[in-house]
């Protein structure tokens, strides 16, 4: 390669890593230059996050060498890596829920006062500047993190990484929960950081982004580095082929007309402070997309339909019958399922096995003292592991040790197993790789064909446009408009979402 070692900010040589005798990284060589945006791509479970966690001091490498600015380094903790100028935005959000935004951003370096006193005024003003930089509006420095939406939390994580004045910033799927506008903003911020000479390692399953901003792209497959290319040397299709190790077959988008039988009717649903006067209807076999910006109230609406939020006014009818949903259990009984947006906080039982995570909602339908049929559970969960290609040692593996995308697949499996009539998906493909995404799209369309009504909330506009029969757009807790499939375009959706059409 042309670039000499002097230019390399980070130089990884022959890195290997195993977890309980399973080799996850195999002699990886990876170089990141000064002021370079280096994208890292690969299938779910390829080892991207693990490699980054080695750089940022979360894991120790088994074998190999980590050089920074030409020096041999070994970080024993994230703190040491930070001190050396490496900041990482983790794939799973890791903010402290109970404290304020500013305390989270500056955690670990709140003050350098000799007595440890904190100047909150100064902290708040520095926080405001960072929040503006990442484009997070409507959040105050003193707001408590647990009150923020997932995408807002994501932006706070990014602000936190910026606050470290790092030389290298690792971004592990930073846009997986961001909508178009926030993503654009993030990408231009990455450009600015790059101009300041900061190196960025950028992990994403959204290849358009990768091609838009990266100087070089490295592909990982099964813990092996397949190679590094400049974006102009390859195409997205070629990258996908390199990721999966074979030519990807183009699946043609199929589409079917939905039936006209009304499945779900929502009248005048409101939740003070979150959303107001929402009306919507969903037919059998229909896929209804809901689009909108961060904080538009889409996830709150989903939670309200599912019986999580209290103080909800308005009525919900399922198949023409008025029903009261006071808890998720009621919703499930009415045939509704919800895949919530934040898998770590709202879905996963980290200490339990993959199998237990898959069957938990389904078994809850039995009476409480029912005994567990282990054989059946094993068969069922193995079925899903195969069907969704969940990469795990076995169904008895703790779900904590699965990669992000594979955890997401297990969460999907949990709700598919419940055979819902109405399936609400909130960012269903968050963190899922390109190939698996296609398969999940087919799965969703297949369910719809069988008569399931699907509400699809997604910040990925292409996903919504491709799958939905109709698209509702929300803005600031209200319905901003409705678009039929035939006349929905990205521009029209964005106009409604931002309110610039008025």
């Amino acid at each position: 390669m042309a670039e000499g070692t002097i230019d390399a900010r980070l130089d990884l040589q022959g890195i290997s890593k195993s977890f309980s005798n399973v080799q996850v990284l195999n002699k990886i060589t990876f170089k990141c230059l000064h002021g370079e945006v280096h994208a890292l791509v690969g299938e779910n479970g390829a080892g991207k996050s693990t490699l980054m966690k080695i750089i940022s001091g979360v894991y120790r490498l088994d074998e190999g060498k980590l050089m920074m600015d030409g020096e041999d380094r070994l970080f024993n903790s994230p703190r040491e890596a930070q001190a050396a100028g490496i900041a990482m935005i983790h794939q799973e959000l890791s903010l402290a829920q109970g404290i304020s935004v500013m305390e989270n951003i500056f955690m670990g370096h709140l003050t350098n006062h000799p007595l440890g006193l904190i100047n909150y005024k100064d902290l708040a003003s520095r926080t405001l500047k960072l929040l503006a930089e990442v484009g997070l509006k409507g959040v105050r420095p003193e707001d408590i993190v647990s009150d923020l939406s997932v995408s807002q939390k994501q932006l706070v994580e990014i602000a936190k990484a910026l606050s470290l004045d790092a030389k290298v910033i690792i971004m592990d799927e930073p846009t997986s929960s961001l909508s178009m506008i926030e993503t654009e903003n993030l990408l231009s911020m990455v450009q600015k950081l790059k101009q300041q000479g900061i190196s960025i390692i950028y992990i994403s399953h959204r290849l358009e982004e990768v091609f838009q901003i990266s100087d070089r792209i490295t592909v990982l497959r099964d813990g092996i580095s397949v190679g590094t290319w400049r974006p102009e040397e390859v195409t997205p299709a070629k990258i996908v082929a390199l990721m999966v190790g074979r030519e990807a077959s183009e699946t043609l988008p199929v589409f079917h007309e939905c039936q006209k039988d009304l499945l779900l009717e929502i009248n005048d649903l409101s939740r003070p402070g979150k959303f107001a006067n929402i009306n919507l209807s969903l037919c059998k076999g229909e896929i209804l997309g809901i689009s909108g910006l961060v904080g538009a109230g889409r996830s709150d609406l989903a939670l309200a339909i599912f019986g999580v939020e209290s103080k909800v006014q308005g009525s919900i009818k399922v198949q023409g019958r008025l029903i009261t949903i006071k808890s998720p259990a009621d919703a499930i009984k009415a045939g509704i399922a919800l895949v919530p947006e934040d898998r770590k906080l709202q879905s996963l039982f980290l200490g339990m096995t993959v199998g237990e995570n898959i069957v938990i909602a389904e078994t809850e339908k039995n009476h409480s003292f029912a005994t567990i049929d282990r054989k059946k559970e094993l068969a069922v969960s193995n079925g899903f592991i195969e069907k969704l290609k969940i990469r795990t040692q076995s169904s008895q593996q703790k779900i904590e040790y699965l990669s992000g995308g594979n955890q997401q697949k297990a969460v999907l499996a949990k709700w598919l197993l419940c055979n819902p009539q109405i399936l609400i998906l909130d960012e269903p493909t968050r963190g899922i790789d390109v190939g698996a995404k296609e398969e999940i799209y087919l799965l969703i369309q297949d369910l719809a064909k069988q008569g399931v009504g699907v509400i699809l909330i997604s910040s990925e506009l292409p996903e919504v446009l491709r799958l939905s029969h109709r698209i509702l757009v929300m803005r600031e807790g209200r319905m901003a408009g409705e678009l039929e499939r035939s006349d929905a375009t990205p521009e029209k959706v964005m106009l409604l979402a931002t309110g610039q059409n008025e």
Partner: protein, 318 residues
């Protein structure tokens, strides 16, 4: 694709395979040591004596394990125990059928536990605080009932605490029955698994349709019933119900649960582990008596064992 990587995954360290193994080995080592140090240790009467002594803590620890696995804690077990014993004795003394009196005591214990549960779930008060309050209230009521004096408890129901079937004390049989039932419940029923789920991630449990309030209410109520039952056993053993019985038991019970591998953060623990934990504490106590070591050292040693057991468990996990 990744199958090649995955196939290597079959090997699992035996240490991780059976997570109670470490503590079981510790118990066996202690027993081996004691049997060398004292010829009496392995005698049948001594072993049965140990079992009888741990039966009350063992029963309480099963209930406490479920509570701790669900992410809560119950500090009131010792006081509810005393209340249960005293109610059974007092009601019997009033001329009520002794069996019925025991059932009334269990009901009172269940009510105390249910109250804990309501305060924790509906009023959202931290269980540490709620049960600290109940610890005081239940003890106070016990003192009010008895006027501070023990009440004689000598009826057919004393059989639960003092009786034998062949050479085995009835209380030991009760303990094993409850441990077995608890183990089955924890590992084979939907409700048992839901308890783990609630402790592991309460929010996710709710969103999976699990009735978190119900899970916790059942847990606290069962704990109350088990505490009252322990009180009846203890009173039956001594033929008298003392208002001060069971004080300080909460710490032994929690110790047995955490030594047995449960995490105070919730979501983790096992009933078999709890039994081994209780046995370890019992054997340790017995050993001090046999070896004629000052009871004060025993207090020190138990503290060390609790911290060491949990510390070793952490090492095992990482």
């Amino acid at each position: 694709m990744g199958s090649e990587i995955m196939n290597k995954a079959k090997y699992r360290s035996p240490f991780k395979m059976f997570k109670e193994l470490g503590i079981l080995l510790a118990l066996l080592a202690l027993c081996a040591g004691l049997s060398i140090a004292s010829p009496y240790f392995l005698e049948g009467t001594n072993l049965i004596n140990i079992l009888r002594q741990i039966s009350v803590i063992g029963i309480l620890a099963v209930g406490q394990a479920f509570i701790i696995i669900s992410g809560e804690i119950d500090l009131s077990v010792g006081s509810v125990l005393a209340l249960g014993g005293v109610v059974a004795a007092e009601v019997t003394a009033k001329g009520v059928d002794p069996i019925l009196a025991v059932l009334i005591a269990l009901l009172v214990g269940g009510l105390a536990g249910f109250t804990n549960g309501i305060l924790v779930t509906k009023f959202r008060i931290n269980s540490f605080i709620v049960t600290l309050g109940m610890l005081s209230v239940a003890r106070g009521i016990t003192l009010l009932i008895t006027g501070g004096m023990p009440i004689s408890f000598n009826s057919v129901a004393s059989f639960l605490g003092g009786g034998y079937i062949s050479v085995i004390p009835v209380s030991v049989i009760i303990m094993f029955a409850i441990v077995m039932l608890g183990h089955f419940f924890a590992t084979r029923t939907v409700m048992g698994r839901n308890i783990f789920a609630v402790g592991s991630n309460k929010r996710a449990a709710e969103l999976s349709g699990i009735n978190v309030v119900k899970v916790k209410l059942i847990n606290f109520t069962v704990m109350g019933i088990l505490a009252a039952l322990s009180g009846v056993i203890l009173a039956g053993n001594l033929l008298s119900a003392s208002p001060s019985s069971g004080s300080g038991y909460e710490l032994d019970v929690i110790a047995a649960v955490v030594i047995g591998g449960a995490s105070l953060a919730g979501g983790e623990g096992s009933i078999i582990g709890v039994l081994i934990g209780a046995a370890l504490l019992g054997v340790l106590r017995n050993g001090f008596v046999l070896l004629n070591i000052s009871a004060y050292w025993q207090v020190v040693a138990i503290g060390v064992v609790i911290v060491a057991a949990v510390g070793l468990d952490q090492l095992r996990k990482h």
